[in-house]
Amino acid sequence: MDATPPHVRLANDIAAQFAHKPLDEAARQVAAHIRSFWEPRMRSALVAHLAAGGAGLDPVARRAAEELRSASVR
C-alpha cells in the first residue's frame, strides 16, 4: 500500500495534468483547482507538509503549495 499522504498524492496527480505548461502557469492552475475543490483542512495539510519540507511533492505541486501558502498568509 502506498504510504504517501493523500494530500501529496492528490496534489501530484493534479500537477501531472499541467506538466506540459510552464512551471508558473502550471502551478497557478493547480493552485486554482485545489482552491476550488479541496476542503480547507486538506489545503492546510498540504501547506503544512510543505512547511515540513514537502517530501514527495513534484515541482509543480510544490510551487502550487507555495502559492496556496502565500495566499493563506495574506
Partner: protein, 941 residues
C-alpha cells in the same frame, strides 16, 4: 386510478406533416404520408379489428382481420399494410367485411382452448375482444378437441422465472418474434416450421431460460393472448389499477405502469408514453421488483452504542433523537466540520435536496457528497469545463438520427439495455458503430449489428486514443472550421497542442495497443459520416484521467461540429437511476443545486436568505477525503443515504477501517447492507414503489416517481431528514415532496419551470426548464453553449501510476452485467440470481492456460491491496493480459482488490485499472493435485 389501457393505433406513427387527407367511414382525417389506413382510422376514431398488428411494431399483414374496402380499389386489402393516399375513401364496416372477419375468427377459435373463464388473460385478451367485435357466435369447424388436428396439447414452457410460454394458446401472430427483433433487437425468437406446424421457438428448440432471450418482456408485452404471460398474473390474477411511475434501476429512467390489485403489485408494464423508453423495458425494470417486499427489508429503526453491539429496535422518535444528539455532541467536541453526509443516486431529487440542505443549513458545512463521486463526477467536471454544465447533450431519441456512433467505455446491452435497443435499431438501419473498449462487448458483433471498428485499447489509455483521433481530424483537414470559429474558443492553442507528432496514432500505437491505421480509419469515419454521436460510460470516467477523457471527447465533438442538433452530441450513460438528479441537486461538496460553486456570493445569498442561515463559501470533503479524514480523526460522524459504500467503494480495507473509526455512522437503507455492519443507527428506507418525488435520467429528463403504496416504514425519507434537522434545532419542514420541488424551482434557474403539476400535465421535462423553455430542452447547446463559447482544453495523456508488474502482471477491469445492478442489494433479492448467482472472473484462455486454470475453477484474485476468491470463466472476448469481474455480490467483494488511485480532478476511483495476479485457489489446486495423483484405472476396472 383505474387500470390504464393505452390506445393502440395498430401501426407506428410516421414523421412529417399531416398532408394526406382521406375519409374513413365518412369521417375526414389527415395524416402524414406513409401512415397506414389502420392508424388513420384510429386517429379518426374508428377501431379496425386486428390481431397481428400493434403500434409498437411494423405492419405484418398476417391475421387478415383488419381487412377494409377502399373505393376504387380491388378486393379487401389489409388496413395495416396499406398506406393512405390522398382522397382515399375507406369503409371498415360492411357486410362483406363482417363475414370475412367472422370466418377468420372461426379458424382461430377452432384451434384455441375455450377456457376464457379460467384463462390468466381473461379480461386482457385481444383474441377474446376480437371474438366479441366480430360477432362470433359459432365455430362451424368445431372447437377445441372437436376441431380435428389442433395444438391444444402443446407444451407449456415455465423455465423463465418471470413469465410462462403456453404454446396451446398461441395464434402464431408473430408479434412476440417481431418484438424481439424490432424492439429489443436480440432476435432470440423465431417461427419454427411451416403451415400447421408453425410455432414460436426460443432459439434452436431450447427452453426460454436456456435461449438467447434476455427477458426484456417485449414479447410478453406484445402477445395478444395468454401465450406469453407474467407468472405473477397467472398466480394473482389481473390487476385492477395502474400508477404511472419511474424505474429505480439504471440511468435510462424508464416509465412504467405499476399495475396492482388493491395494494398488491401484480406487474410492472412499460409505459408507451414514457419519454425515455416509449414502451420498452429490460429484465430488471420489468420483472425484478420483488426486493421491495422482500423479508430482508428493515422496517423499524435500529440503534446501538457500538457497531460490535447487537441492534436494538427503537421508535422513530428515539432513533431521530439519538442521531441528532450524537451529531451535535461530535460537533461540540471536534468542530463543525467533523460530520457530513453522503447522498444516493437511488433516491429522489427531493430526498437528495433535503439531505444537502441539512448538511449546509444544519450541520453548517459543505461535507456532502454523492455516490456519483465514484462514477460520473468526471462528467460533471469535464463537461462543465468545456460546455458549461454537467449534462448529456441529447435526448435518447436523438440516436435515431445518428449516422455514426462512437461508443466508449460503455456496454449498454448490459448496463443500459433499453437505450441499447434504440441504438441497435439505428445500427440495423445502417448507422456505423465504433467501439472503444478493451473487451469485445456484445455490440462489437451481435445479430444484425457489427462494429465498423473495434479499438481494443489497453486499459487506462483512453486519453491517448481520443487525442490521436483528434490529431487525425486536425491534421487531415477534417475540422468543421465554421462551427469552431463561430461557437468555440481556445481552438488555436488546442490545434497546436493536438497536432504535435506525439499525439499521432502511430506515436501512441505502442501505448494504446490500437493499430494506427485502424484508429485513423475510425477517426475519419467519425469526422465525415454525417451526424456523429458519442456515448460513453464508466469505462471513461473511472480512470485516473477520467476528467481529461471527458474533455477530450468534448474537444473531438466540437472540432467536428457534432454538437447542438439531433443525432450528435456527447452523452454520458449514467449508471444509476438518479445520478443526474443527485448531482443536479447540489450533492457535490463544492456546488449548490444547479452546479453553482459555493464560493459564488450571489448564489449562496439565495439560499442564505431562504434558509436563514449562513453557508460556508469553502468546498467540503469528498467521499474519499471523508475516509481519509476519518482515519486521521478529524471526521467523526457520517449520515449515509441509500448507498452501500462498504461494498461499492474501492479499496475495501481502507473503507472499512475508515467506517470503523467513526464515532457515529447513520445508514438509511432498505436492507442491513455491508455499510450497516459498521453503523450505530440504521434508519429504514423506502423503495421506489413507496417514494413520492422525481428522478432525473441521463438525458436530463425529470420523471415523476409516484407512490404505488404507502411507505412501509411509516415515513418518507425526506421527512426523516427534516425531523433530524428539527431535532438538531433547525426548523426544516415541508408539507409534501411537491413543496420541496417548489423550493428547488425557486432557487435553481435550470429547474425554474418544474413542478409536480407540470410533470403530471406533460409527463416529463428535460432541464433546463424555465420561461424560455417551458416544456424543457431535449437538445442542449443548440444556438450557443451554456458557458457561451465551447472551450477547447488541452488534454495531456498522463498514464496511470497503476502498472502491471512481474508480481501483478494482469490488469483487472470491472463492470456490471444485465441481470444484476450495482452492489446487488436489490437484484440479489429477486429471481435474477438465476442468471447470475455469483461474480465470476473472465480471463483469456491463454492467461488461464499459463496459470493452469480451467473454466469454472475457483481462483484467487490478488492486487497490492487485497485478495479475493471467485470462479474463473474463460472467454476470448477478453484481450490477453486483461481480466474482468463484476461487484454485485458482497461475498466476492471485488473492491477488495481495487486501489486508492483516482481521477486527478474529482477523486473518482480508478476501478477500471488494477494490476492483479490470478492463481488457482488453494482448495482447487488441492483437488486438482489429488485427482492427478490418483492411479489411472486399468481398462475394465
Amino acid at each position: 386510478m383505474s387500470l390504464l389501457k393505452e390506445p393502440d393505433h395498430g401501426t407506428p406513427a410516421r414523421e412529417g406533416a399531416a398532408t394526406v387527407e382521406l375519409t374513413v367511414d365518412g369521417i375526414p382525417v389527415a395524416v402524414p404520408p406513409g401512415t397506414s389506413v389502420m392508424r388513420a382510422a384510429k386517429l379518426a376514431g374508428v377501431d379496425i379489428p386486428k390481431l397481428c398488428a400493434t403500434d409498437s411494431l411494423e405492419a405484418f399483414g398476417s391475421c387478415r382481420l383488419c381487412l377494409v374496402q377502399i373505393d376504387g380499389a380491388r378486393g379487401t386489402p389489409a388496413s395495416c399494410t396499406t398506406p393512405v393516399a390522398p382522397g382515399m375513401v375507406v369503409h371498415t364496416q360492411t357486410d362483406k367485411l363482417a363475414k370475412l372477419r367472422r370466418g377468420v375468427m372461426e379458424l382461430y377459435i377452432s384451434d384455441h382452448p375455450l377456457d376464457c373463464l379460467t384463462c390468466s388473460a381473461n379480461g386482457d385478451c385481444e383474441l377474446q375482444d376480437m371474438a366479441g367485435v366480430t360477432g362470433l357466435r359459432e365455430v362451424r369447424y368445431g372447437s377445441g378437441v372437436d376441431a380435428g388436428a389442433n395444438h391444444m396439447d402443446a407444451p407449456k414452457d415455465t423455465s423463465n422465472p418471470y413469465f410462462d410460454f403456453d404454446a396451446s394458446k398461441c395464434i402464431v401472430c408473430s408479434r412476440c418474434v417481431r418484438a424481439c427483433d424490432e424492439i429489443q433487437g436480440t432476435l432470440a425468437l423465431t417461427i419454427e416450421g411451416r403451415g400447421f406446424d408453425s410455432k414460436v421457438a426460443a432459439g434452436a428448440g431450447v427452453p426460454f431460460f436456456e435461449s438467447d432471450c434476455v427477458s426484456c418482456g417485449a414479447c410478453v408485452q406484445a402477445c395478444p393472448t395468454a401465450t406469453l404471460q407474467e407468472k405473477s398474473v397467472v398466480e394473482l390474477g389481473m390487476p385492477t389499477r395502474s400508477v404511472v411511475t419511474t424505474c429505480a434501476y439504471c440511468g435510462v429512467g424508464c416509465s412504467f405502469k405499476a399495475e396492482l390489485r388493491g395494494d398488491e403489485l401484480v406487474r410492472m408494464v412499460p409505459y408507451k408514453d414514457g419519454g425515455a423508453n416509449e414502451g420498452h423495458s429490460c429484465v430488471k425494470g420489468r420483472f425484478a421488483f420483488g426486493y421491495a417486499t422482500h423479508p430482508d427489508r428493515v422496517l423499524t429503526p435500529r440503534v446501538r452504542e457500538s457497531f460490535t453491539d447487537p441492534w436494538r429496535e427503537v421508535s422513530w422518535e428515539e432513533a431521530i433523537s439519538f442521531v441528532a444528539r450524537r451529531l451535535r455532541e461530535i460537533q461540540a467536541e471536534h468542530g463543525t466540520g467533523s460530520i457530513g453526509a453522503i447522498t444516493s443516486s437511488r433516491t429522489t431529487n427531493e430526498e437528495v435536496y433535503a439531505v444537502q440542505k441539512m448538511v449546509r443549513a444544519v450541520f453548517g458545512n459543505n461535507n456532502v457528497d454523492t455516490c456519483a463521486r465514484v462514477c460520473h463526477s468526471p462528467t460533471g467536471y469535464g463537461l462543465k469545463q468545456t460546455f458549461g454544465t454537467s449534462a448529456g447533450t441529447q435526448d435518447f431519441k436523438s440516436v435515431a438520427k445518428a449516422d455514426v456512433i462512437l461508443l466508449i467505455g460503455a456496454n449498454p446491452t448490459d448496463a443500459h439495455p433499453v437505450f441499447a435497443s434504440r441504438m441497435k435499431r439505428r445500427l440495423r438501419q445502417g448507422a456505423k458503430l465504433i467501439v472503444v473498449d478493451p473487451r469485445r462487448i456484445d455490440l462489437v458483433r451481435s445479430p444484425h449489428v457489427e462494429a465498423a471498428h473495434h479499438l481494443a485499447l489497453r486499459p487506462g489509455t483512453n486519453v491517448a486514443v481520443v487525442n490521436a483521433m483528434a490529431h487525425v481530424v486536425v491534421t487531415e483537414g477534417l475540422v468543421d472550421r465554421e462551427f469552431v470559429a463561430e461557437r468555440c474558443e481556445g481552438f488555436a492553442e488546442w490545434e497546436e497542442f493536438i497536432s504535435r507528432p506525439e499525439h499521432s496514432p502511430e506515436a501512441v500505437e505502442d501505448i494504446t495497443g490500437v493499430p494506427a491505421e485502424e484508429l485513423r480509419a475510425a477517426a475519419r469515419l467519425y469526422a465525415t459520416a454525417g451526424n456523429a454521436a458519442i456515448y460513453y460510460g464508466l469505462g471513461v470516467t473511472e480512470h485516473s484521467q477520467g476528467s481529461t477523457m471527458v474533455m477530450g471527447m468534448a474537444n473531438l465533438a466540437m472540432a467536428t461540429g457534432n454538437i447542438g442538433r439531433d443525432g450528435v452530441g456527447v452523452n454520458p450513460l449514467r449508471g444509476q437511476n438518479n445520478v443526474q438528479g443527485s448531482c443536479d441537486m447540489g450533492s457535490f461538496p463544492h456546488e449548490l443545486p444547479g452546479y453553482r460553486h459555493v464560493a459564488e456570493d450571489d448564489v449562496r445569498g439565495i439560499y442564505e436568505e431562504l434558509w436563514g442561515t449562513p453557508i460556508l463559501p469553502e468546498p467540503g470533503l469528498r467521499i474519499p477525503n471523508m475516509f481519509d479524514a476519518a482515519l486521521d480523526g478529524s471526521f467523526r460522524g457520517l449520515f449515509v443515504q441509500g448507498e452501500d459504500i462498504a461494498q461499492s467503494d474501492p479499496n475495501t480495507q481502507h473503507v472499512h477501517a475508515a467506517l470503523a473509526a467513526l464515532d457515529l455512522l447513520v445508514v438509511q437503507d432498505l436492507f442491513e447492507n455491508e455499510t450497516a455492519k459498521f453503523a450505530h443507527v440504521l434508519l429504514p428506507g423506502t423503495s421506489f414503489l413507496e417514494k413520492d418525488g422525481t428522478f432525473t435520467n441521463a438525458e436530463r429528463r425529470i420523471n415523476r416517481v409516484r407512490p404505488v403504496m404507502a411507505p412501509r416504514t411509516g415515513k418518507h425519507e425526506w421527512q426523516i431528514v427534516c425531523e433530524i434537522a428539527q431535532a438538531m434545532g433547525y426548523p426544516m419542514h415541508y408539507d409534501s415532496a411537491a413543496r420541496i420541488m417548489d423550493e428547488i424551482a425557486l432557487t435553481t434557474p435550470t429547474f425554474a419551470g418544474v413542478s409536480f403539476d407540470l410533470l403530471d400535465r406533460v409527463g416529463s421535462v428535460q432541464w433546463p426548464c424555465h420561461d424560455e423553455a417551458p416544456e424543457g430542452t431535449p437538445i442542449m447547446h443548440v444556438d450557443g453553449f451554456v458557458r457561451g463559447k465551447g472551450r477547447f482544453v488541452e488534454t495531456t495523456y498522463v498514464p496511470t501510476r497503476e502498472r502491471s508488474t512481474r508480481r501483478f502482471p494482469l490488469i483487472l477491469t470491472t463492470g456490471r452485467i444485465l441481470t444484476q445492478y450495482n452492489v446487488g442489494a436489490q437484484t440479489r433479492r429477486t429471481a435474477n440470481v438465476a442468471w447470475h448467482p455469483e461474480d465470476v472472473l473472465e480471463l483469456h484462455p491463454h492467461d488461464a492456460e499459463e496459470r493452469g486454470i480451467s473454466d469454472g475453477d475457483m481462483v484467487v484474485l490478488s492486487s497490492r491491496v487485497g485478495r479475493t476468491t471467485l470462479r474463473a470463466v474463460l472467454s476470448d472476448r477478453m484481450p490477453v493480459g486483461v481480466c474482468y469481474t463484476t461487484f454485485h455480490h458482497p461475498v466476492t467483494g471485488a473492491n477488495v482488490v481495487t486501489t486508492e488511485n483516482s481521477d486527478w480532478a474529482t477523486n473518482c476511483p480508478e476501478y477500471k485499472v488494477t494490476a492483479v495476479q490470478v492463481a488457482l485457489a488453494p482448495e482447487q489446486a488441492a483437488v486438482r493435485e489429488e485427482l492427478t495423483a490418483r492411479p489411472v484405472p486399468a481398462a475394465g476396472e
